[in-house]
């Protein structure tokens, strides 16, 4: 009797486990907002420690609390904000800070262009609002969603809004808590975004041409970083990689 009970329990447990796995994996089955929360989770894990680090550095650089939070609201671009804080601390002129921000963030131009063909039915103001929160991470998540046909607007704005809110909040916490922020490295949280990019890159890779373009662009980015062009590496490697893809495609078709 006991044995039967135990077997039963084990079976129910297994069923429950499978159901949970299905629930986590089956993002389509969720409500739009629930789907957004699930997909934004790794972004939050990545943003919170980096956003807090930005807050700490902004404080040290002499930015006011209001300005620290305002940069996260108005500019909302991780690496550019960290670079800008360093430049403020070094007393660089505003124009060179703005010029550097332009170069560092120019890669979003390509991301915006590549999302555009999926948004034919959207109103202009919706596009303008959505574009405000295009980051490396939100782009990566949306491009995979769009590729599998999930164009739900609530999910789109849910992901973007929650991601930016976590970034703003983390900046503020970093400013207030200063260096007393606990080290999150033992938890591997700094690997959340690289691991997310791995998953999203694989989900985007649907044929041999994609593998070829991915390898070529990655190699190009490495060469560009090694050549000292790290601020241009992503955008140049992407342009070269996509052009290479179209080139090889039309060459092999002939």
């Amino acid at each position: 009797m006991n044995q039967i009970n135990r077997v039963m329990t084990r079976q129910t447990l297994r069923e429950k486990l499978i159901m949970t796995i299905d629930a986590v994996a089956g993002e389509e089955a969720d409500s739009p907002m629930m789907s957004a929360i699930k997909q934004v989770a790794p972004i939050i894990m990545g943003y919170v420690p980096v956003g807090a680090a930005y807050g700490v550095l902004a404080h040290q650089a002499g930015l006011s609390m209001l300005n620290t939070v305002l940069m996260s609201i108005l500019v909302y671009a991780g690496s550019a904000q960290l670079i800008a804080v360093g430049m403020f601390a070094a007393g660089m002129p505003p124009l060179s800070i703005i010029a550097t921000t332009f170069v560092v963030n120019l890669r979003h131009l390509l991301m915006s262009a590549s999302l555009a063909p999926n948004l034919k039915t959207w109103k202009k103001w919706e596009l303008a609002l959505f574009a405000y929160e295009v980051t490396d991470e939100s782009f990566a998540v949306h491009s995979v969603r769009f590729a599998r046909g999930d164009l739900n607007k609530t999910t789109c704005f849910g992901i973007n809004g929650i991601a930016q809110a976590s970034w703003i909040l983390a900046s503020w916490v970093g400013f207030v808590a200063g260096a007393s922020i606990p080290d999150v490295e033992p938890l591997g949280i700094d690997y959340a975004l690289p691991a997310m990019f791995i998953a999203l890159l694989i989900m985007q890779t649907k044929n041999k041409m994609h593998v070829l373009v991915a390898g070529f662009s990655g190699l190009m980015a490495i060469i560009l970083v090694q050549a000292g062009a790290d601020q241009w590496s992503v955008i140049l490697a992407t342009v070269i990689g996509a052009t290479f893809g179209v080139g090889v495609e039309s060459w092999t078709k002939k």
Binding site: E27, Q39, P42, L63, S64, L66, N67, L74, V75, A77, A80, F88, L95, I97, I98, T101, R107, H108, L109, L110, M111, S112, A113, S114, A116, L119, K124, L127, F130, A131, V134, A140, P186, L187, G188, I189, Y191, P194, A195, M196, F197, I198, A199, L201, I202, M203, A214, S217, G218, L219, A221, I222, Q226, V234, T238, G241, A242, T243, G245, V246
Partner: protein
């Protein structure tokens, strides 16, 4: 630096960040693009993701790092395999983080 100057600098940063984010989307979304352009754009996601990811995994500053303590690289191999076999977004992130955390715990 004066907080007002810092704030005005943000407005410049906002402009140079927002325009590249918004302009292509606003200009292209309602248009039917020529076929080669669509094909080119279809390669952008894989290209841009690899361009961000590969240097982060393989380089330390500007030189290749194949040392055993490059946990980001070694954790990426099982993460790639898991992502490829299961297409699981969550599983990949969880495995990657667990491996990096575990490696730091056991090997420092």
């Amino acid at each position: 630096m004066d907080q007002k100057v810092i704030f005005l600098t943000f407005l410049g940063m906002l402009a140079v960040t927002y325009i590249p984010r918004a302009l292509p989307m606003l200009a292209l979304a309602s248009r039917t693009l020529p076929e080669p352009v669509v094909r080119w754009l279809s390669y952008v996601p894989v290209a841009v993701l690899s361009a961000m990811l590969f240097p982060a995994l393989l380089l330390k500053d500007t030189s290749f790092n194949f040392q055993p303590d490059n946990y980001f690289l070694w954790a990426a191999i099982p993460a790639f395999i898991l992502a490829w076999r299961t297409r699981s977004f969550f599983g990949t992130v969880a495995l990657g983080m667990a491996l990096v955390a575990g490696a730091r715990y056991f090997f420092g």
